[in-house]
Structure formats: structure tokens, C-alpha cells
Point group: C2
Chain length 612, copies 2
């Protein structure tokens, strides 16, 4: 079998594959055109040739054309050139060609995956994709369930929805069928394991008591914040978690941020202390969230250690829901899977990555910690994963995957007009959203069919991204003070060795010991490398930025500041550091020779900008 050629999978930074793209697009369009014509071929046309030549008709077409060109002009004037390697900012790059075409084809048919009836073709694709993602994340094929959400934010909400409603189930069962939970006091009921609660749900369902139980659960009686408990999240969490506790009625006061270490991974000892502290106070723990690929740093939380910790607490009778926010990093699990979706042994993986040239032998990735984190993912109860990030799919396409689909029973909402005993696949009642594009499912489905969810498919693309990120990181790390156009000397440093493909870095003038001045410098660089200083189409390099503050991270960013010649006291004075952030998703930067050329151009651009 021929190997996947990554370069054939994208339109390309210079539209290199435009012929193939257009050929396929026109073909899909023709398929649709004739699909319409062939539906009851004897039905008459609704629009005559004569009418098409009329003044009104032509004028309306002219209006459409004018508006579309106006749209095109606006899109061209200020859209972000994700496709170019000159763009290293947010989680964007060129997207997969089959994904774009699949989305476009989907739109022509405009299916609505809210209910099977509105999308007999694409509802099945959505659920198929959900299981594919479940398998890729290590879940059991016959137990897992997943679906496409509009994005990771909504997927995170759904994870919290499961966790919150599940927490209230044992108390509800105690009300309805006290014998089932004889001898358990409230504290014990709020500390049953997820597995145990799902068994109980199955039991009450069999006994015909599920409806009564749901009527006593949070879903019906509303939130009692004291009984629902606290949600523990790393400081590095996405801000959707802050929105989520507001939305779900828990309140931000019930969100407990756990300190990260200076590698920006959640500090497990802090997590343990926080749990112990809550247990001492008899405050239930609603759930723990960890992140695989933090938004700001690309850090990978030590999932394996959290899983281990959870097992320890389980022995002590303390249980909580565990959700992984792998919106960004989730697809990287494909790098670890062989053609049978088996998680490859560490040594074999390293050997295969290097031998088959997936990753340059000089790139030491994954570290053992990152490897173990990805390996342990299937112990989580649910996982958020965004197809429109490392899945290289167009927006909008996030996903939520659960370990055990029995959990769906606690959420069901059915409406008469979407109900039917024969409805094989009904999404609306189990998810937050209602009407939703089947086109997104078509896009993900056709892409997964083209690019396998293992090392030979997605893994091969993501490995390129990781390799390029490692090159970029090493170049920043080993940078020698350089003279900019203004004759002054500058240097740079990276925040951390990347767990994945994000490099956070900052410049400083050699000799500068003022953190505010350093922040100003980086802000100036960002402004020059972003929309802030004018249309991005004119820019030579485009990146993103973030500001690490004590409000978010405590004093952890202080250690980064002291990598420069800046005294620690400056951190305590200024309490924030402005940094540049490059999510290196582009598949066109791997290969040492390509990258060397790229880097020398990059440094030249920086010399010009810094020295302005």
C-alpha cells in the first residue's frame, strides 16, 4: 500500500493543488445538480429559460454577483492567511482538502443532524465519527459514544452537564428507592464512583423508576450548590470553564483553580491538597478537569498521575467525575496508535517515529511523561476534542466523547415531533444543541475515511507539526544575541520545552532589566505581527500573544522572567509578562532544511521589526 503523502492532503500555501481541488469541487457540484434533476424526472421545471432571460431575473443575478464579489473582496482584504507558514499564531493552519470539500458538499444537501429524519445520511456519519474518536481516545468501541458539537466550549459544557447531573442521582435514588442505598448517608451518596452510579441508573431503569429518579435529580429540582460540590480545574484551563460554572448554576465560586508548575502542567500535589482540604470540610468534589494541550502553552497535564490519584481516593471512599479537555491536543493521540488502534509501546514508538522518518531523530518527543499522559486518557469519564483544531477540519466541528454511553440516560429530552419508536438515531434529546449542520459530520467523516486515526494518517501530519515546533523551540533556546536594525542587541527565550506544538517565547534587549520595558517590546512586536498595525495581508510574519499574570498563574511566570537578565523583584513589581505564542500546526515546516531557511528569514524579519 502506498504511503500517505501529506502534501496531497491540503490545497497548499501557494494553492499548489488547485487543479485537483477544483476538479473535485465541480464534480461534487455536478453530482448535486443531477441529484436534484433526477428526483422525479417527470416533474416540471419551476423556472423557465424565458424567465431566466427577463430583466428582473438578470438584475437579481447581478445583485447576487455584486454581493458575492463584495464578500470575496472583504474576505481577501482581511482574512488571516492561515495557509502560510508565515502564520504561526492561534490554533490554525491550512485545513485538509477532503474536509473542505466534504463540508461544501454537505452544505449543498443541508442536512440537519438534530434528528435522523432531517439527515438520514449524516446523522449516521456523526455517530460513526463519535465512535471513531472514542476508539482513538482508547475507549471501548461498544461502550463509548460521541457526537459533534459546535466547538470545544460546548463539549466542555456537556462534560459538566453529565458530571453535575450524575452527582445528584444517588440522592434522587435515595428519595425514590431508599432500599437500594440502604445504610449510605449523604456524604457517602455524594461520593459514589461514576461506575457505581451508572450501575444504579441501569438498575432503576430496569425497575421502571428512572423517570421518578430524574424528577428528583438536579435536572428537575435545580442546583443546590452545597450538595453539588466543587469543580477542580488547573489554572491553565480554557476560559469556557469559567463560563460553564456560571451557566450550569454552580457559580464561579465553586470553581477551584489548581496551581500549575513551571512547566504549566497542573501540580498534582496541589490537586491532592485541594481534595484533602475539601474532604476535611466535607465538601463534595463534583469533578476534576485536566487539559491535554492547554490553550496558552500547549502543556499536557499528567493524566496518568491524576488517574492514579483518583484510584487512591476511590479506595478511601472519595469519588469524583474526571473530564479531560483535549480540545487542542486530542488528535495527537493518533501519533501513538498503530494501524490496529493499539497504543504503541514507548520504545517501539520512538523507534518507529524515527525509523519511518515521521519525526527527525534529533527531536526527543514524546517525553515519557507526555507518553504516559496520552496513554492514560481512556480512564477519564469524558473527553472534549476539537476536530476544527488538530483535526484540520473547518469550523465548526468540536466533539464530546464519553466512556460509557449509559450516562446518556440521565439527560434524555424528547419532543413529540422528533420522537418515534423507530428513530434509530436521535441526537437532539441527548445534547445541548438543537438544529445542527450535518455538513460538519460529512466533513469529519470523509476526512477520517481519507486520513486514518493512527500513526500512518493523522499521526503523520501531527508529527510534522511537532517536529517543526521542536525546531522552533530549539532555535529560540539556542539563539545568540543579534543586532537589530537600530544597532541594539536583542535575545529571546522560550517559556517551556513544548509538550506538544506550541512555543511561547519573548524577546528582550540585551542588558535590559526592566520587565515593563520587556513587555512593551513584545507588545510592539505583536502589534507589528498582527492586525493591530494594519491589514495582515501586508505582514511578513503573523503571530498571537498572551499575557501571563499573577491573577491566573500565581508567581509561576516569575521563573520565565528570570531566564532573562531581569531580577526576580521585577516580577513581583509588574506581575505580568507579555509573551508571543506560536501554535505550530503547519505541516509545511517539517524537514530540517526547510526549517533552516525558514528560521533565517524569520530572524531577519524580527531584526527589522525589533529594530524599528
Amino acid at each position: 500500500m502506498s504511503k500517505q503523502n501529506n502534501n496531497a492532503l491540503f490545497l497548499g500555501p501557494k494553492s499548489e493543488n488547485h487543479k485537483f481541488f477544483k476538479e473535485m469541487l465541480n464534480s461534487l457540484m455536478d453530482e448535486h445538480i443531477f441529484w436534484r434533476r433526477d428526483f422525479h424526472p417527470d416533474d416540471k421545471s419551476s423556472i423557465s429559460h424565458n424567465e431566466q432571460r427577463s430583466e428582473d431575473f438578470c438584475a437579481t443575478e447581478d445583485n447576487i454577483q455584486e454581493a458575492l464579489y463584495d464578500l470575496s473582496n472583504k474576505l481577501k482584504t482581511s482574512s488571516m492567511p492561515w495557509f502560510s507558514t508565515r502564520y504561526l499564531g492561534h490554533m490554525n493552519s491550512d485545513i485538509l482538502l477532503p474536509a473542505v470539500l466534504g463540508y461544501m458538499a454537505g452544505i449543498l444537501y443541508n442536512p440537519n443532524n438534530c434528528a435522523y429524519e432531517g439527515a438520514p445520511a449524516t446523522t449516521g456519519m456523526e455517530l460513526e465519527v463519535g465512535i471513531q474518536l472514542g476508539i482513538m481516545l482508547g475507549y471501548e468501541p461498544d461502550k463509548t459514544w460521541g457526537h459533534i458539537a459546535s466547538g470545544g466550549t460546548v463539549a466542555n459544557y456537556e462534560g459538566l452537564w453529565y458530571a453535575r447531573n450524575l452527582k445528584s442521582i444517588p440522592l434522587a435514588i435515595k428519595d425514590v428507592a431508599p432500599d437500594m442505598l440502604d445504610g449510605l448517608d449523604e456524604w457517602l451518596l455524594l461520593n459514589l464512583s461514576v461506575e457505581r452510579v451508572l450501575e444504579l441508573v441501569e438498575q432503576v431503569k430496569t425497575d421502571g423508576l428512572l423517570d421518578s429518579v430524574l424528577k428528583r435529580s438536579v435536572r428537575s429540582i435545580g442546583v443546590n450548590t452545597e450538595k453539588i460540590g466543587k469543580l477542580l480545574v488547573p489554572q491553565s484551563r480554557h476560559y469556557s470553564w469559567d463560563k460553564s460554572v456560571d451557566i450550569f448554576g454552580l457559580g464561579c465560586d465553586n470553581l477551584v483553580p489548581i496551581q500549575v508548575k513551571d512547566d504549566y502542567r497542573m501540580d498534582i500535589s496541589c490537586l491532592k491538597s485541594a481534595i484533602d482540604d475539601l474532604v476535611d470540610k466535607k465538601i463534595p468534589i463534583l469533578g476534576v478537569v485536566s487539559v491535554v494541550g492547554t490553550t496558552e502553552e500547549g502543556a499536557v497535564d499528567e493524566v496518568h498521575k491524576i488517574v492514579e490519584l483518583r484510584k487512591e481516593y476511590e479506595k478511601k471512599g472519595i469519588n469524583f467525575y474526571y473530564h479531560i479537555d483535549a480540545a487542542y491536543g486530542g488528535y495527537a493521540r493518533t501519533v501513538f496508535l498503530d494501524e490496529n488502534s493499539t497504543f504503541i509501546d514507548y520504545d517501539k514508538l520512538i523507534e518507529r517515529l524515527n525509523k519511518d522518518n515521521f519525526i527527525d531523530g534529533k527531536v526527543k518527543w514524546p517525553s515519557r511523561n507526555v507518553y504516559e499522559a496520552f496513554k492514560a486518557m481512556p480512564d477519564a469519564d469524558s473527553i472534549t476534542i476539537d476536530c476544527h483544531k488538530m483535526g484540520y477540519i473547518p469550523y465548526p466541528a468540536g466533539a464530546l466523547v464519553v466512556k460509557d454511553k449509559r450516562i446518556l440516560d440521565i439527560l434524555t429530552y424528547k419532543a413529540a415531533y422528533v420522537e418515534g419508536e423507530n428513530d434509530p438515531m436521535l441526537l437532539g434529546p441527548y445534547i445541548m444543541e438543537g438544529s445542527k449542520a450535518g455538513a460538519a459530520a460529512a466533513s469529519v467523516w470523509v476526512t477520517h475515511r481519507t486520513v486514518p486515526l493512527n500513526i500512518t494518517g493523522y499521526g503523520k501530519i501531527i508529527a510534522c507539526s511537532i517536529e517543526a515546533a521542536d525546531y522552533f523551540y530549539k532555535c529560540i533556546k539556542e539563539i545568540q544575541p543579534f543586532e537589530a536594525a537600530n544597532g541594539r542587541k536583542y535575545t529571546a527565550t522560550a517559556l517551556t520545552s513544548p509538550d506538544f506544538n506550541v512555543v511561547v517565547f519573548a524577546f528582550n534587549e540585551v542588558g535590559n532589566t526592566d520587565l515593563e520595558k520587556m513587555n512593551e517590546l513584545n507588545e510592539r512586536i505583536y502589534n507589528r505581527c498582527s492586525y493591530v498595525s494594519g491589514p495582515v495581508y501586508q505582514k511578513k510574519f503573523i503571530t498571537s500573544k498572551t499575557i501571563l499574570t499573577d491573577h491566573e498563574y500565581g508567581d509561576v511566570p516569575g521563573s520565565f522572567v528570570s531566564k532573562f537578565e531581569i531580577p526576580e523583584t521585577e516580577w513581583f513589581r509588574v506581575k505580568k509578562v507579555y509573551v508571543l505564542r506560536a501554535c505550530i500546526m503547519s505541516p509545511f515546516l517539517a524537514n530540517n532544511t526547510t526549517f533552516k531557511e525558514y528560521w533565517s528569514r524569520f530572524i531577519q524579519i524580527m531584526k527589522d521589526i525589533v529594530g524599528e
Copy 2:
């Protein structure tokens, strides 16, 4: 100026406008191709011609092609033929040609409207579209604000989010700045008007106290169901409202369904009783929701009467939030607007609709009640409106529009990496979703630019839909018992005279007095006219169904049952009636001659199916 020709605005049931469609699509595609090529023209290609001829490359292209054809086959085999007038079921029809092309163009650029930085072109479009919708709904241009959500479900959630968080603000202010609310007890604080609370928010913002207030609001401390109160919704509500009270921590027990009348509009006297009852018990009223275009019946709640009622209660010191769920009917407000977005006087409207032949003079639409309901919409605090329903836009594109944008201050969430003092337009922190497709905004924007939001644009399309629905309704109403293929006689009746463009109807055998038998008949018809009995592509007519039950509607559907020769006792025995439901969105059924032909074919199809 030439008039809009509706037929030029769609691809057409027989792909009649395929040449123009393909020409524009290829043009937009070429624009994108050269946009990439022209970005730093001196940058080298990443993919060589030589590589494109390699075995791996060609094999990868073959894989893509095979997968895309497989997708196309699946789409063609079982997608719903929305485009055909043979489809009269859910809220679907052919969609607008500029909308489809705008979406496709958007996908090529793949903007992310979460933050301006990810979509400098389309974020502006989204906010522009939001204001356009606000103006169309009668809000003041400089006060209103709106945005595109993934759908009406999420827009409804956002409406509840505003209502819930706003309700908690006065109590929070009382904590932080008691002097501002001197002399007001808790009951009075929970009964301040929306306008008054927004003034208070503005005041605390000016005083630099907003953050402290938010920290005492539900957003931070979580839900206290007793203080938040009850949400009053009509029985005819969309089921997203049931999900919403679960999600927002209020619990379904705090959702109060208000009885509908036999026209399926909320019974205002029941609403009044429910409010009085709650006030007597000193239970606060969180909000009232009414529906413009109910999902099942297309009924238009009497918004003007609710607005009047709210004013009466305001005088008594009882206040609540008012949200309109116009997901379906919202765009129909364009029928009432002249070229200056002025709501047209009733008599002038009727005259203009008939004189300019927007609607056949025999069609008596709108009734005075429906007219007044649409007129009163701008008194609501927020409105849900789905572009992907009566906006004829592809999925996903819903929208939420607020009357007074000061309400955004109570929701803001900012993340450092999307923050920036100069960010002119930042969506993420104000909405539920995070990453979101700029393509949806591009689609709506280009379509609004082509099809004005008034009687000459959208109004002209929607008028066709209303006219066809009226024809359909009258044909059902005046149907004579007909002999089916099996030699038996059947008749039909419609549920109500349509407020909008939905016709709900059922068949019965002449002489049958058994409701269960009648239900079986209609279920059999539905099964034959849907995916249930095999691929829809083979079907002669496709529709949707719903089941009206006492659980949802009390005994209201009994009056429909008694329109047949079925005794009232049957309703009390069976408690549910199975009905067919046709949302007549197609613009290709207006014009009496066309419809007559259509109807005779429809009846023939029914004779065959009923008589099988």
C-alpha cells in the same frame, strides 16, 4: 430599480440555475486560489510538480477522490430532497443561492469569529448582521446588539442566561452598595424592571463596582432557585426550554407551562392567573417566554397582549424579563416592513400585499391579531431568530438579538489570549460558544446584502410561502370525501387556520369514530411519506408528523378530534392524536394555477397511499 425575482435566488428544484451557480462558485474559488498565490508572491511553493506526479501523491489523491465519491453517494442516497415541492415537512426548503455560495466562500478562508483576531473580515459581518436583525425586529439601531449562534436552541439559552443573571443583580447590588437600593426589601429587589436593573448596572459600572457586584451575583455564587423564581412558557414551547432550565440550574420544576387555546396560542388569561398565583405566594417571576411561530403548529402568540399585561403588572410593582422565541417566525417580520424598515399600517399593508401581488387577494393574511403580535415584538428584552429557518440560510446559523446592549455587561468573560485593549469586536466573552464559524456570518451577511430585510426582499419570498400555506389549508378545509384505491372513502381536516405557514392536518375514514384507528391511519400515511418506509428519494410526497398529547396540551386537542365524526369521549380515552405537519417554506408553490396542479397531484398520491 428592477424588482427582485425570487426564482433567481435559488438553485431551483430542477437545478434550473446551475450555470450561474457554478460560474459563481468557480469564480469565488479562483479568487481564493489567487489570494493564496498573491500572499508574498516571492515565497516558494511547498509542493513541487515533480512531487505531484509521485506514486504516493497520486495514491493519496485517489484516496481522497474515492472517499469524496463515497460521501457523495451517501448524501445522494438518503438526504432529504428539501428543494422539491414534494417535500412539505420540517422547516426546510431550497435555500438561498447567495447563502450557499457565501457559506462555501467562507469555509475556504475558515475564519473563527470567537475573536476579531481570528476573523477580521467576518466578525464585523456578524455584528453588522446582528444590528440588521435588531432593526428588522424593531429595536433601536444604536441600542440593539445581536450575534449568530449555532442555532435557536443556543440563542434561547442565552436569553435565559441574561434573564437569570439579571434577576440576581439587584440582590448583589444591595450587598455591595446598599445605599443605592435603600428601603427596598428582597421582594421589591426581585421585582425591579429590566430597564431599572440596566440603569443600576450602568451606575455601578461608573462607580467602579461592577466587578464586586458580579461577584455577588448568580454568576459567582450559583443558583438559589427560590430567589431566581419561575420561568413561564406556553405549552407549545420548543423542547429546548425544558433543556434550558436543567442546564441553567433552575430545574424543570421551575418551568411553568401556560395553557394554550385551541388556536395553539398561549392563553393570556391563564398567563395572568399564573402570575397572580405566584405573586400571591411571593414567588418571583424570572421571565415570560412567548413563541412567534411554534414548532408544531406555526402559531403566533399574542405578543401585544403580553406586552400590555407586562405594563399592567409593572404598575403594580411586578416585573419580569420577556423573551420571544421567534426562531421560526422571526424573519416573517420583513413582510411588515417598508423600504425604510418602518412597520407598515395595517390597511396599507393589506393593500400593498395585494396590489403588488405579493399575496393573492383571496388570502386574508395577516389577521389583525398576527399583525399586532409582530408589531409589538420590539417590547421584548431579547429575541431568538434562526437564519437557518425562514432566513433560507444553510445550517448552522441561529441568532440572538437583545433590545439593550448594556445587558452584555453582566456576562463578560475575558481570556488573556483573546484580550486586548484595541480589540474592536470580541465575541467569545459575551456569548455561550467559543470558536465559531465566520463562514456562517459571511453567508448571512451576503444574503442580507442581496435580499433586503423588508417587504421587497425577504418579505416577497416569505409572502409566497404564506400564500402557498393558505392555499394548502383551504384545500384541506374544503376537501370533499374522496374514494381511495381500496374503494373506501376518506376525508381530512386542518388543526387551525395558520397564523403563518404551517398546516397541521389529519385524515380519517368517513364513518370512523375510533380515535385509535384514525391515529393508525395517519401514522401509516406518515410512514409511507417518510424515511420510515424506505429511502426518501423514491417517495412521491414527504412530510413530517407530530403527536398532540394531553401531557403537553391538556385537553385542547380534543376540539380538533371532534371536527371529525369522532365523539369527544374518544379524546378522553386515547389522549393523543397523531397529525401530519407541513411547514410550507417552498417559494415555488405560490400562484394559484401552480398550486391547483400541485393539489390534484397531491390528492392522487394520498388516494394511493391511504388506499393501500
